[in-house]
Amino acid sequence: MNPILIPIILPLASALLILLISEKTRYIKELLTIAVTGICLLSAISIIASALFGVSMEFASAWAGSGIAFTLKADKLSSFLLLGLSLFSFVIAIYSFSYKQKGNAGWFYFNLLITASFSAGAALADNMVTMLFFWEGLLIFLYSFIALSQSGQNSKKTAMKAFLINGVTDLCLLTGICITGYIAGTMSMAGISLNKLTLDGWAALGYVLMLIGALSKAGAIPFHTWIPDAALDSSAPFMAYVPAAVDKLLGIYFLTRISVYLFTLNGFAQLGLMTLGALTILIAVMMAFVQSDYKRLLSYHAVSQTGYMILGIGTLNPIGIAGGLFHMINHATYKSCLFMTAGSVERQTGSNDLSKLGGLFGVMPVTAVCFIISAAAISGIAPLNGFFSKELIYAGTLNTGYTIFFIAAELGSVLTLASFLKLGHSVFFGKRPEALNSTREAPFSTLLPMLILAGICVAFGFGARLPAQFLIDPSLQGLGLVHTEAIAGFHFNGLFWTSIVVILIALINHIFGLAAASGVASKSSDHIHYAPGFKEIYAMAERRMFDPYEQTMKHLPSLANILYKVDRFFDYLTDDLPSFVANSFSRTSQRFHTGSYPLYMALTIAGIAVYIIFTANYGGIK
């Protein structure tokens, strides 16, 4: 078998196998999943090695005919992505080994493996229709993943929300792909890239529609709203896996593909993308800053960080794109790690509420260390990976000349750090509540993945040259981008000093907040939360006034009612009206045929008279 098929077929087959395994067995499903994802990781390594040092693997098979072929192509970007996806699948599989609050184990691993398989397929697919197939498959299992992760009604509702948002945007994607494929004359991405499209006429529409699909997958504003809800209504492994890792990776991957690989963008599109990125950063981080739930706070950050990637790719210069891609993998790493710490805390304490947590550093030191590392990474503190990717993005942004976006991004950084100061302070430091005194450290199977990911954060930070050389640079080459600047390395330039300033501002803000909240860490954001002007906006946000989905849903019943009436009308036209008319005519005729001879005679005579007058006038004598 072609090794390129392993990451797709193996998880798929084992997912089906898992459903056959009895409910009562213990650890078989878990071990099977770990083994399968491990094999996938190994094959992903071999694939990327082949892509980096040899020829890209390919697999092609005639599928539906007429230009739609089942084509997989592991070029450098795809195999880089595949590596990331496989890594997270593997780590999550380990993490959820002993994690109890993940719903039915069989279904959880089924969904996990299916997601792994389909995401690998989407990453590797070269033909856009093939990619769409996997992409839509992910959508279906996104629903089942959320819906089956908790037994309550809320998870179903959130699952439906996620499903609808992604379903609509996937429909856009479908339309966009059709338009693009029609204009380009081929469905193969490699084929289109040979002769890139420009944004004019229908092609622009196709690009925008595909952009919507990609952004929605990545979870950018305004398609992000299901993620914070899912943070409350689903399990930590799911959050660590899908919204934090897989969706980000795929969304940004496809964004890169279309923006760089398939289309030649103009300045207007660049400005639009960067604006969108900056807005995503700011709005999401503002929301994140005031959250009081561990996972929900993290989920807003997951949205906010997407903004950096979009900003980076939107710059359209190699440095910015490299930053976007680097940030993509970095973000997945530390955000997964953060969600895992959240899961671990939830697992050990039973709570996610910041006001009920505190002082856990003493009892959960490993978790706390992992948290600190990844929080530092996400905040862009110097030698960790987040610093380097953000630095690349800042540099790319400055290269475009739009300083305002740089400032917005830095402001986002300040708030990010501030919110993590608040989070870390309220969870791991400060005074420990009485109820948490018996808390113990999480088991090894939970700690191991966190350690792995935290280790990657550190490694990619201190040895940023390594991923830059072996992952990012080849990906840029794969995209056909040429750059002259070094994309990795620690420089004591202006950006470093800016980051120091950022750290200081955040610290000052935190101290000020603490003072304002009289020492309660979980309330250290209240001075902004309840500041005049912000207060109302936040209150409206809490009421979901800005959630397009909720707003649509609110107005949907009336719309649906109108549509229902319209439908009834058509139904009436096709079903009831004919039979009603026929019946009423029939009844009239029945009433008419009274058997009364005079009536019949009169009718006959009248008919004769009309006939004779007509024929005499038109056909006859004159």
Binding site: Q590, H593, T594, G595, S596, Y597, P598, M601, A602, I605
Partner: protein
Amino acid sequence: MINSFTLDWFFITLIFSAGLYCMLVSRNLLRQFIGLEIMSKSCLLAVISVGSVTGNLALAQALIITMIVIEVVVVAVGLSLLVKNYRLTNSIDIWSLNNLRG
């Protein structure tokens, strides 16, 4: 001066409408047949009038003889239906013939 043919037809129309009026107005089955008979007469007169004006008197006579034979059989059949109906239902009211409806 109105010619003979036109005047004939004027009276034929009157006789015909008398018969028609009888058929329309009467409830008595027998009167229906009387009206019918009067209408037949007007028809007969029409044929002979046409035969006269076209000079086809011989043909008209042939037709009239056949028509009279048919007329007598039809009237006989009609009257026998009437009598049969009278024997069965004891009524010759045409308005009572409304058992078949719907």
